[in-house]
């Protein structure tokens, strides 16, 4: 069972009901659940969208797009049915926050989905969980069944004219299906190959209908925004970055875990105070601030506030909020190799720069780490990654290229230390170096 952690600096909004049995509907109701959706039914769609805009809530899936804006792009009139999709594919290495939401507070996801439906005029929502999350899918399915029993889902929800249906869906293993259009393909029973954009999902999405797709944390936040009021929610964060975030701190820290902290919380403090500092009193070498696709930060670059804008200014991204901490006895070349192996494995193969680029980067880095590097490799890695940037069909190509570039630029010396057939100077004890592929 995933361990829950806690720290005095946390501001518990989304995690407020964690560990309190709220997966059970009566308990959820006792804890104030399904009040926000009732408020929304009374206030109407325009009000909901305006509240979301005013809250400063930005998408927790990675890109940080304003949720209220996204909802406002959905056309009012549509010949085809409109849909809501909850993205619970959660596959970005370093990210495990949605896991806890599904486990501890599945009804908040349902409530948020209904509110999104009311806001844009959709009558059906899909909650898509990665295939590995079977026990969480079962939790979600039980919660959905409870909501139907109470008349919170179906026709005439909460005794009104409104209708809303929820369908749960299991994936079957694919990081790329987390990309919004690839997820829609998967939901339509196809290979998870992304679609060309435009048209954007808000106009042409699932089954060709206007579709809102949001991350599970974004959706689970919605009822809290409505309940506490947009202004109060916005005030918790920093300008243009409303509220809190579920930061998952993993890697070499004393107290890894998912902590809910205000947007803009200092990264250095997050590592040294909230997560208890680097494990075993070791030194800090690097920090990946927002999931494996975000460029690495050096120890001298982490005195920054963790919101979309400040991390962007520091040359990286807030991404999925997965902070991966790396100590000074870790080999960055190996870390870069493991990162790119992931992207090579997950590339859907649809476009050449990503399919070939990730594969060549993986081969080069594997050979390099095994001690068969050439001096020209370092620049070749850079050249390869630079040529992927912005030239791929979907953002997975960038997600692979950006961190790779960060590693070679910021740790060039360490790459050079690997040259000339020398063994890895930072190899971890007991871990054999990989053989050449």
């Amino acid at each position: 069972m995933p361990r829950l952690v806690s720290h005095p600096d946390e501001v518990k909004i989304v995690t407020r009901r964690f560990g309190q049995g709220a997966a059970q509907i009566d308990r959820y109701l006792e804890l104030g659940g399904y009040e926000a959706v009732k408020k929304c039914l009374a206030q109407g769609p325009e009000w909901i969208v305006e509240e979301m805009k005013a809250s400063g809530l930005r998408g927790r899936g990675g890109a940080g797009f304003s949720t209220g804006m996204k909802w406002s792009f959905v056309p009012k009139q549509s010949a085809k049915p409109k849909y809501i999709i909850v993205n619970g594919d959660e596959s970005e290495p370093g990210t495990c926050k949605d896991h806890l939401i599904f486990l501890h507070d599945p009804h908040s996801v349902i409530e948020g989905t209904i509110i999104a439906g009311l806001a844009v005029g959709a009558k059906m929502g899909f909650i898509y969980l990665r295939g590995e999350y079977r026990y969480l899918l079962e939790k979600m399915e039980r919660a959905v069944a409870e909501a139907y029993e109470r008349g919170f889902l179906g026709k005439n929800i909460f005794g009104t004219e409104a209708e809303f249906q929820i369908v749960t869906q299991s994936g079957a293993g694919a990081y790329e299906v987390g990309e919004e259009s690839a997820l829609m393909e998967s939901l339509e029973g196809k290979r998870g190959v992304p679609r060309i954009k435009p048209p954007f999902p808000a106009v042409v999405g699932l089954y060709g209908g206007p579709t809102v797709i949001n991350n599970a944390e974004t959706i689970a936040t919605v009822p809290h925004v409505i309940a506490m009021g947009a202004a109060a929610y916005a005030a918790v964060g920093t300008p243009r970055n409303g509220g809190t975030r579920l930061f998952g701190i993993s890697g070499h820290v004393e107290r890894p875990g998912v902590y809910e902290l205000p947007m803009g919380y200092n990264l250095k403090k997050m590592i040294y105070e909230v997560a208890g500092g680097v494990r075993g009193g070791r030194g800090l070498k690097a920090v990946v601030p927002g999931g494996s696709s975000t460029p690495v930060l050096l120890p001298e670059e982490i005195d920054i506030g963790m919101d979309f804008d400040q991390v962007g200014k520091a040359g990286s991204m807030l991404g999925s909020g997965g902070v991966v901490v790396i100590d000074d006895q870790t080999c960055i070349v190996e870390f870069a190799m493991r990162t790119i192996s992931f992207y090579a494995h997950e590339s859907c193969g649809w476009c050449i720069p990503c399919r070939e680029g990730t594969d060549w980067l993986k081969k080069t880095l594997t050979r390099f780490h095994a001690g068969f590097g050439q001096p020209s490799d370092i620049d070749n890695i850079r050249y390869l990654a630079e040529n992927m940037l912005g030239r791929t069909f979907c953002p997975l190509g960038d997600a692979a290229a950006m961190p790779t570039l960060g590693f070679v630029k910021k740790f060039r010396q360490e790459f050079e230390d690997h040259l000339h057939g020398k063994p890895c100077p930072y190899a971890r004890a007991g871990v054999p170096q990989l053989t050449v592929v």
Binding site: P81, H99, G131, Q169, G171, A172, G173, A174, G189, S250
Partner: protein, 183 residues
């Protein structure tokens, strides 16, 4: 020609007399296709649920799924080959999936993976001779803050060390034995 037609009819009879899925799964899949505005949306979960029962996507499973959705077998195969959890060969009764991605790697994911290889005496992607366990290295399974983590079939085990490996295997061995006894 005549012989071919005969063979087909024999196979057809065989598949009629030997259903591919249990009555429970068949009922579940009947309900599954009704959930969606479009039947085909049931395809990916249907393949996974079928695999859960049968163990892998055999030719018979693929054909049956194609029939249920009303698309060609080729179409089903094209989709099935995309998803990493779907397999076309049997795995062990307990499929051990060890995450070695970054957060797990930093906290000993490879050491855990190697210990499983030693304890089970199998290479990556191998199945033990008794068919009880199979082992594979997987990408991030969404348990990074509780690393290193593994899944045995759908069960998560987290905050592991190499030393916790034998105990986990014993638990599943006992589970298999008790099931046999009760059967």
């Amino acid at each position: 020609m005549g012989a071919r037609v005969d063979r087909m009819s024999v196979e057809q009879k065989k598949s009629e007399s030997m259903p591919v899925f249990s009555p429970e799964l068949a009922a579940r899949l009947d309900a599954l296709v009704l959930k969606y505005p479009v039947k085909r949306s049931a395809l990916v979960p249907m393949l996974l649920y079928a695999q859960d029962e049968v163990g892998y996507l055999s030719d018979a499973v693929l054909a049956e799924v194609a029939r249920r959705i009303g698309i060609s077998e080729l179409d089903v195969r094209s989709v099935a080959t995309y998803y990493s959890m779907l397999r076309f060969k049997p795995a062990g009764k307990f499929n051990v999936q060890v995450c070695t991605n970054i957060s797990c790697m930093l906290r000993g994911g490879y050491e855990v993976y190697e210990r499983f290889q030693e304890e089970l005496g199998v290479a990556p992607k191998g199945v033990t001779p008794d068919g009880l366990f199979s082992l594979e290295e997987v990408e991030c399974i969404g348990a990074c803050c509780w690393a290193p983590a593994i899944q045995v079939n759908y069960d998560f085990h987290d905050e592991l060390t190499a030393e916790s490996v034998p105990g986990i295997l014993d638990r599943y061995r006992n589970l298999a034995q008790n099931k046999e006894k009760n059967a």
